[in-house]
Symmetry: C2
Subunit: 220 residues, 2 copies
Amino acid sequence: MSKNDEVILLDFWASPFAMRVKIALAEKGIKFEAREEDIMAGKSELLLNSNPLHKKVPVLLHYGKPICESAIIVSYIDEVWPFPAMLPTCYYARAQARFWADFVDKKLFDGGCGIWRNNGDALELGKKEFIEILQVLEGALGGDFFGGDNFGFVDTIAIPHASWFYAYEQFGGFKVEDVCPKLSAWIKRCLKRDSVAKSLPDPSKVYEFLCMFRKMNGLD
Amino acid sequence: MSKNDEVILLDFWASPFAMRVKIALAEKGIKFEAREEDIMAGKSELLLNSNPLHKKVPVLLHYGKPICESAIIVSYIDEVWPFPAMLPTCYYARAQARFWADFVDKKLFDGGCGIWRNNGDALELGKKEFIEILQVLEGALGGDFFGGDNFGFVDTIAIPHASWFYAYEQFGGFKVEDVCPKLSAWIKRCLKRDSVAKSLPDPSKVYEFLCMFRKMNGLD
């Protein structure tokens, strides 16, 4: 990889948003350097300068130029390296894929926060709302993948969040498999893909990370 | 227009999100039927069936098939009717345009709510935060338009919100022109375009609408 081909990801191992970028790059067969940010001790100057508005990972640096916001980065990757395509070719199907990716963006992470950032009644309400979100997604799953027969854009956007589900299950006292068996089968199917398996962390590590966060914030 | 060419917009006159779709269709020269929803008395069955998750305008019905979420609808319009293009051709510039459209989506409407849905200290804080958002946008305005020399995707996404600025100025006691002269000049430039002028309502009507809303909610 020459200097001009450099693809650098400003990363944090537990970020489902950064995982999306790692999956997309792996699907396209693009080598990249992941630079781990220390979001606890202090973000790097490179991150703060590359994403001055949001100051968040992931940032993709391509030829040194920063691209921010994970769904936008995945779209960029899909345009720069078009094969295999992540979005369908049919305009209507593309709009549908963008709709579901947007739904995941607006609901899934915040929905999970309703569980792991709460206790008592608030946690119970958070769990109820989270399960409703999962059930909507389960209803949208038409085939083996959100992309139909093939793993695609919506799958790339959504599957990283599954690495946090084990933690949600522990805090909330429920099983995704019991409430959404089709979605649970989709998770297992995605995890069989190399691109996903190597981009997602061990769910028990995410659980430990969230336990630490809860202790720091007096929740446990 | 034959039945198969039917383009129907489920609309609400004061919605900046619906205005985006009207501007995009006007820029492409596409005739459409706007069906006004009565969001106070009750949404139509067609709206509730076409957008069952969000239950919101705008919805574009093309060949009877619904597309939801305004930025996704504008992207769909730009793909189906590619000339004149709203997004740049350069992949990096496309990602930048999507970044700024996303910034507008996440900040501008909610930022305005911080003014018109509040009184007293909360209104003052809302005003301060709203002006900061405008100043970020002003800093991102590179040329005559967000799209550079040409009116484009970000302009289409952002300009409808300007029809609410007069109301924000009245409630907040400030002038956009005083705090963001470059952005104010951009608004005037956009309003000279036919596509924008015919898609945006009279700002004093929006002000009256918001006054009514404030009275209904005991704010005035």
